[in-house]
């Protein structure tokens, strides 16, 4: 859901740049406080993995595809603040080097996927685990829910930006964006849960938000 330049009006693009800059600045402060020396290379590895996974579009329905966004994966493996920074790196490289997502729209794309996506996943995951229990199953079910919801909520925020830019009427763009991403989110949930399950099974120490009893 990388928004190209032209879709957003100047006021929407500018205000999402301001919101993103503030959000990423806050994330950088929090991450800097929590980051251990050994976790820094892990940010690089997670970024490379998420970038590569984003290239693998899967068909969802009716001639539409989706791909992993990775917000939930980053939030669960690295924690929300480090995760937001990693997603920002991915989005910046995609915009600057691959012309995937506009430069003026980069603020909105960072806001939607690196901030809203990652934080929605984090809150959902924490809430899910409190509800389902601090065990492996509870963690994996929460992972799926976090991944699915992060995509749906990010798509609805993108829809809001498109509607505010006058691309289309709010109600229609809201329901169509939401409708497609309810399906795309299932793919996000499956991939994220598989990767987190693999990590919990092999190297649970690499999972920052691991359950108390894995």
């Amino acid at each position: 859901m990388h928004i190209p330049d032209g879709f957003l009006s100047a006021p929407v693009a500018a205000s999402s740049w301001v919101l993103s800059a503030g959000g990423i600045g806050y994330a950088a402060r929090r991450a800097g406080r929590e980051l251990g020396e050994k976790q820094i290379p892990m940010m690089g590895v997670a970024g490379a993995f998420i970038f590569a996974a984003q290239m693998l579009n899967f068909t969802v329905a009716g001639g539409t595809s989706g791909h992993l966004l990775g917000g939930a994966l980053a939030a669960i493996v690295l924690g929300p603040w480090q995760g937001a920074l990693v997603l920002t790196s991915v989005l910046a490289v995609q915009a600057l080097l691959f012309q995937d997502g506009g430069l003026l729209a980069l603020g909105a794309n960072v806001f939607n996927m690196a901030l809203v996506g990652v934080l929605t996943a984090y809150v959902t995951y924490r809430f899910g685990r409190r509800l389902l229990g601090e065990n492996r199953l509870g963690s994996l079910v929460s992972t799926f829910a976090a991944a699915w919801l992060s995509v749906v909520v990010a798509s609805l925020v993108a829809a809001l930006e498109l509607a505010a830019s006058g691309a289309y009427s709010a109600g229609v763009v809201f329901t169509t964006m939401g409708g497609v991403h309810v399906l795309v989110g299932i793919g996000e949930g499956i991939i994220t849960t598989a990767v987190v399950a693999f990590l919990l099974g092999t190297r649970p120490d690499l999972v920052t938000l691991q359950p108390a009893r894995a």
Partner: protein
């Protein structure tokens, strides 16, 4: 975190990149919505082109071109995210010792 984890993580990323020529070519969710609702024409041409559509210009083999672009991108993101991590940690000014996360207990 050991070098082994970095190597395995990067190999996993490489495996995904090698699979990427098989990715679905259908428009993604946002593009589909933009086409269906008729605002896809609002999209502007990028200001410049480096690796457009995840290909390396001049490499005629489509799959190879995509894989090469993917390898370049994954390595650049690897360095960028690592660098960003290093920068925010240094800027914190804690000189190598992370601040305690929990409220500090008084030292008697």
């Amino acid at each position: 975190m050991g070098k082994r984890v970095i190597a395995i993580g990067l190999l996993a990323a490489l495996a995904l990149v090698i699979l990427s020529p098989l990715a679905s070519a259908f428009p993604d969710g946002l593009e589909r919505v933009a086409e269906d609702l008729g605002f896809i024409d609002r999209a502007q041409e990028p200001a410049y082109q480096t690796l457009p559509d995840y290909t390396v210009p001049g490499v005629s083999d489509e799959a190879l071109s995509t894989i090469m672009a993917g390898v370049i991108g994954a390595l650049v993101v690897f360095l960028a995210a690592w660098g960003l991590g290093a920068v925010v940690r240094r800027r914190d000014g804690s000189e190598g010792t992370p601040k305690p996360l929990s409220p500090r207990k008084p030292v008697s």
